[in-house]
Symmetry: D2
Subunit: 283 residues, 4 copies
């Protein structure tokens, strides 16, 4: 086996023989399938597939390009990634540092197949920590009166780092539709509630007032509608009447870290397909 594998995420209208055609193509081109998983949405009649194979030849880039064209000939859209490529990731963060540290430490421990390339914040708090981790840090405050201009400064800071993923690691500002259009890559956000419950501000306070017995966290793709993007991962933890808001926040931190890290890992491993407002996660 060569050291590089290809991972394709395909989707398109279902039709008989897709599994056979895709696997047959890879086999005939000398490739060796390592993993394959598929799904059909019976209502929308869409076929989804994640397939990972060793192309057994170099350069892998060429095999990827040919495969994309082949998928198009089947009426499918495909995104093919080379396993030796480590996507460039930018982190946006405000003041709460737990997701920031957690992602970077996982990365340094070899858990995330990526390169974290930059940290952008609307507060200066994490500058020294970012530099300690060897990461460029951009303190770019948001002026509510000139939000678009503020966001343009963020985009300018990000641009030279060519991010392939932006992670909002408890970044407490809403990214505008215009930012999301211009940034040119997926943006993953962590919301500290079990969506769709408690969207919007201060979800732990909302949860406390409602008297729920579990609190949650939700990782989702950022879209222009607040806390409404396609959900990638969710989890919950039990609370009781003894837990005041401060304890909900403490318990939530661990939950947020775990849920966000899982979503980011799946994104980096090319396991997520979005359709409509939902996700298929080939876990």
């Amino acid at each position: 086996m060569s050291s590089t594998t290809l991972v394709a995420l395909l989707s398109g209208p279902d039709q008989p023989g897709l599994v056979a055609k895709v696997s047959g193509y890879i086999y005939q081109h000398g490739g060796n399938i390592i993993h394959a998983d598929q799904h059909r949405d019976p209502e929308e009649n869409i076929f989804f597939q994640r397939i990972e194979w060793d192309p057994m030849k170099t350069p892998a880039g060429e095999a990827a390009k040919e495969f994309t064209e082949f998928a198009r000939s089947l009426g499918m859209s495909a995104r093919v990634a080379d396993s030796s490529h480590r996507p460039r990731v930018a982190i946006m963060v405000s003041r709460f540092a737990h997701c920031f540290h957690d992602l970077i430490l996982r990365w340094k421990a070899g858990e995330l197949p990526a390169e974290i390339v930059a940290v952008v914040s609307n507060h200066p708090d994490l500058e020294a920590e970012s530099r300690h981790y060897g990461l460029p840090f951009y303190h770019l405050p948001i002026d509510p009166a000139q939000k678009e201009a503020s966001e343009d400064h963020q985009l300018e800071a990000l641009r030279p780092h060519r991010p392939e993923l932006v992670v909002m690691a408890r970044y407490m500002q809403i990214l505008s539709s215009s930012f999301l259009d211009k940034v040119g890559c997926p943006v993953i956000n962590i919301h500290h509630s079990f969506l769709p419950a408690f969207a919007g501000g201060k979800p732990y306070h909302q949860a406390y007032r409602r008297g729920v017995k579990l609190i949650g966290a939700t990782a989702h793709y950022a879209t222009p509608v607040l806390d409404d993007g396609p959900i990638i991962q969710q989890d919950v933890v039990r609370v009781t009447h003894r837990h005041h808001i401060k304890e909900l926040i403490r318990k939530g931190r661990q939950l947020e870290q775990a849920v966000l890290a899982q979503a980011v890992l799946w994104q980096l491993q090319n396991r997520i397909l979005v359709y409509g407002n939902k996700t298929v996660v080939f876990d």
Copy 2:
């Protein structure tokens, strides 16, 4: 130790010395405390306590009455139950039978310290099963045009059974404010979502459309506002894109059973205090 214990649920404005006064009272009257648990809401300044003791004298009923008066003298309201008393429980159910069977089988296995006394349904489906379990069954359809009259028939059927708890075991009608006033005992409902997400009808369909990664169930006290009563217990189970609505429903059944049974058990064990729209559960 005598075979009967007393359980008191107290609540009222917090003041210094409450724990000492309550436990001192019991000790001075010859009682032996078996369990005690308390809680203070720091914002509302309310003190809550559950205390279980062996009064070491008969009749226990007298000790209970005297304790209630003592609690009142401290400015507290108290509800005292005798452990040898098995509350009378009525079940309301529509067509889905899983919670109905589960509660009755737990009761027959000795898990619920209660007497299930009657089954009321707006459908005839579970008549034979109810009779097999030795329970009177009342088929009382709801005429939407005459809802109050229909509910009055239900109340008449329940009255001779003197229920101390009504359990809506997937009873698919909304109980009116008038019914809840007249029934004269707590009513526990199971809603098949993680409230406050997906209140109202067809929550599994709502969850499927939103693409959540966990589905939930919530047991709560019924109040005139739909799916908005004080939450007693909640739990969730993981789902993926592979689970269509039918599988959500199947996975949800087990969740609903477990969450409802836990809430009913806590109610029967006098572990729940309601305040505002929240609960304190002394687990």
Copy 3:
């Protein structure tokens, strides 16, 4: 789509092109793949696949037979099931009735694609309940001095029902190696601990004495070595110092039901491949 699908479980030495060959075979024979999932054990170099397809022709039985031969030609062993076939299931139970009721009620609710055909017990307790469910009941006590003869009586009772699965629903006897050889179908057991912790007798008592903070249940295939067969499913529930053995047993009942029912459902859906002492579960 015709109403019948086929599900094949394949396993054998890994080799390039297996996915392509299998899916190509189905496509060329006019079949339409509905689901496919595969796995490779990198150490043992074994390939496992579960593939479900609509053969688009009748009789399905012939398509199944041809496919099995095709798989053999690839060096794979295959088990092909027709989705319209509902396997015949026998239940073995002692006195604890919760798993017995749970399985039968799930079956009656349409959750289990099977026919429960008989109940065998070493105690007479569940005879009336079995008959209420419309199931033949065999009370066959085990004489420890003549275990083989006792088991032979059980096998004689089971034989005319031709079981394709035997479920030990808290059957408190150990089945001998000879019984397992002769019964001619898989046997699934539920053990009330998180195996390999607390194998053997009275696991809740063992767990209580050790002071664990979670108790578990394990569904596994019965093998001649007690509590050592391939594990299908496990789950746990939290306990505290407040839970005495009686509460562990109560909490465990629900856990046992859920874990056993999940294992049985996977077995009935042909989702489990055993190799060595482990399972691959295509969930």
Copy 4:
């Protein structure tokens, strides 16, 4: 309310009136009880209590001393802590850094009411990170041929820091009985399995070979018998046949962090009483 509270952990032979006597004592001395929780082991006839109160007078130290004497007069042993006291914690670690970072970051985020005072390691790897966190680091290799001498060097390094808790944050050596005697404070260890399953070395490898469907982590007090001390906290995470040892290790890291941090927090909040080989955790 004054800023300081006292927390007492009491245990001793059960007798009537203990709750009344303890709460009465505090009330009569002008104290105000904030939390109280108790437990009785019905077999051993031991009474356990955790009680937190505002002594309403200074110095708190005197109130603590008087209370300890009062408890002794009831035949109880008591440990009284002053909430303004932040226990001194030493970390022992080998090469795996995740628990080390997690504990320190929680501490820096204000989650742990403690002072981390030193890091001791048998490897030099975490020296720079320790210094970045502002912590003295002692690289003290273990010479297996002279284990006692090696441990004595560790004890000498720890002594000037007067630790009140030692946390083995994936410290991969066994501490001898002699070390545990001499260190003079509790030692908490994290074992990467659901004990008592998979005690000893390489538990993820053991779990993988056994084919379990959940992996676990256990925080316990270190005792001379390996992986056998009183269990404080446990948790598990689901795995499937798809997860190879490398993924078990990755999933386990997060679990280990969470379980260890919870156990340490409970210890720092004086919530744990040990008796025999079990714990009472007043959560």
